[in-house]
């Protein structure tokens, strides 16, 4: 009956967000669907020669992951803003940046994690060598987490705007690019047989930095958006 501790509250928010995602199973299937879509579109649009596809597989997979993240980031706080829940969250006695972290974690679990787990299937469809699958999964796991955190910043800054819309993609796309570059580089390295460790290490470093700083930026952004 007493106010929950910070840890309890974050766990509660995480469960709530996951439950909400489960209530929209189609939304949950989103990354999978989007992956399928783009993987179908690419051979259709680019021509299906298998050798060409293999060259581009890392790039295509990573671009898809990035787009799918970009497109779902906008919704992280949107519905909570629209129905007034975000006001209540901002007023909660628990520290806002930790609550925000719970939201981002839920978003990552329902997009990035799922995406990384299903990526091997699509990688094989694009003729990516089996030896590179491990690196692909790890790079996606690390990279999409960074993307979710960065996307959260954009979402927090734009959620209150009546005339924002796709502003978020303009805000966060430049921030996404380094992740894309190191992510594809890691997979390319694995394909060509050179060590991909350094790239994964850089992604890991980016993730640590993002975990440390992004929640603060998100919390600040949410407070500003609620106010405006």
């Amino acid at each position: 009956m007493s106010a929950p501790h910070t840890g309890q509250f974050c766990a509660l928010l995480l469960r709530r967000q996951l439950l909400l995602a489960m209530r929209r199973p189609i939304e949950m299937g989103n990354p999978l669907l989007f992956f399928t879509m783009v993987i179908v579109l690419f051979p259709l649009g680019l021509g299906p020669a298998p050798d060409k596809l293999a060259i581009f597989a890392p790039g295509v997979l990573w671009i898809t992951a990035l787009l799918s993240n970009l497109l779902t980031s906008d919704a992280v706080f949107r519905s909570d803003f629209d129905d007034g829940s975000l006001e209540q969250l901002v007023l909660a006695p628990q520290p806002l940046f930790l609550s925000a972290l719970a939201y981002i974690l839920a978003h990552w679990l329902t997009t990035g994690l799922l995406l990384a787990l299903v990526s091997p299937i699509f990688a094989l469809m694009l003729n990516l060598p089996v030896s590179a699958l491990g690196t692909l999964i790890v790079s996606l796991l690390l990279g999409t987490a960074v993307l979710s955190l960065l996307g959260g910043i954009g979402a927090a800054l734009t959620v209150g705007l009546k005339r924002g819309g796709v502003l978020i993609s303009l805000l966060i796309l430049p921030l996404y690019l380094p992740v894309l570059i190191f992510g594809t580089a890691a997979v390319q390295a694995a394909v060509t047989g050179t060590p991909s460790g350094p790239y994964l290490a850089i992604l890991g470093a980016m993730l640590s930095l993002a975990i440390a700083l992004a929640p603060l930026a998100i919390a600040a952004g949410l407070r500003i958006s609620i106010d405006a």
Binding site: M1, L20, D83, G84, L91
Partner: protein, 205 residues
């Protein structure tokens, strides 16, 4: 419980002034809310009631002059009901984002029953009628332990009986040493004393 108005105020606003869209909504407004008081903010549509409430609870932090001191964490219910359409009323209360408390199933059932949602505990909230939707939010009042309540038009879409019951709850909260600051376009019919703050005339009475 100290229901004496002499102690430290739960909420104190000092010379608040606000201009919005080129109109001065209020100017040099000061008010102290003590335990045991029920304040009604009056004013016609667009007078600035909601703006004032958001300043009092701390959601608005820029664009006004003056200072607000809060000695307790208030419970704020705004125009938006903060009820998630995809969750059932029970889930809405159990996992509420306000971080207020962890309630047992019985407590939640009791609260839902008291707002007349018995039998609707586990349907998705978007199948509720407009008034039932808002009642889910009102159920938080039956659970809350906060001493200070800030309620912005809590009676919207609620039927006559619901309004009467909510008013009785407000009175008992105030009698128990709590404080309520609220807005409503309907005249209050409560057993306790009502302090009014009229935004048009800037009168505190």
């Amino acid at each position: 419980m100290s229901s004496s108005a002499a102690g430290a105020p739960l909420l104190a606003a000092q010379s608040l002034s606000l201009v919005r869209g080129g109109r001065e909504l209020f100017c040099e407004l000061s008010v102290e809310v003590h335990g045991g008081q029920l304040w009604q903010i009056e004013g016609s549509n667009g007078a600035g009631k909601t703006s004032l409430m958001r300043i009092l609870c701390g959601l608005s932090r820029y664009g006004f002059e003056g200072e607000v001191l809060r000695s307790v964490t208030p419970l704020y219910l705004g125009h938006q009901p903060a009820v998630k359409a995809l969750l059932s009323p029970r889930e809405n209360l159990q996992w509420h984002v306000s971080g207020e408390g962890l309630y047992s199933n019985e407590q939640i059932d009791t609260a839902l029953a008291r707002v007349g949602l018995c039998g609707y505990e586990d349907v998705p909230s978007h199948t509720l009628s407009a008034g039932q939707h808002r009642r889910v939010n009102l159920a938080r009042l039956f659970l809350s332990e906060a001493r200070l309540w800030l309620l912005d038009e809590p009676f919207t879409a609620i039927d006559k009986q619901g309004v009467d019951e909510t008013q009785a709850l407000l009175a008992s909260h105030v009698d128990g040493g709590g404080a309520v600051v609220m807005t409503s376009h309907q005249p209050l019919q409560v057993t306790c004393n009502v302090h009014t703050l009229n935004l048009v005339h800037g009168v505190v009475s």
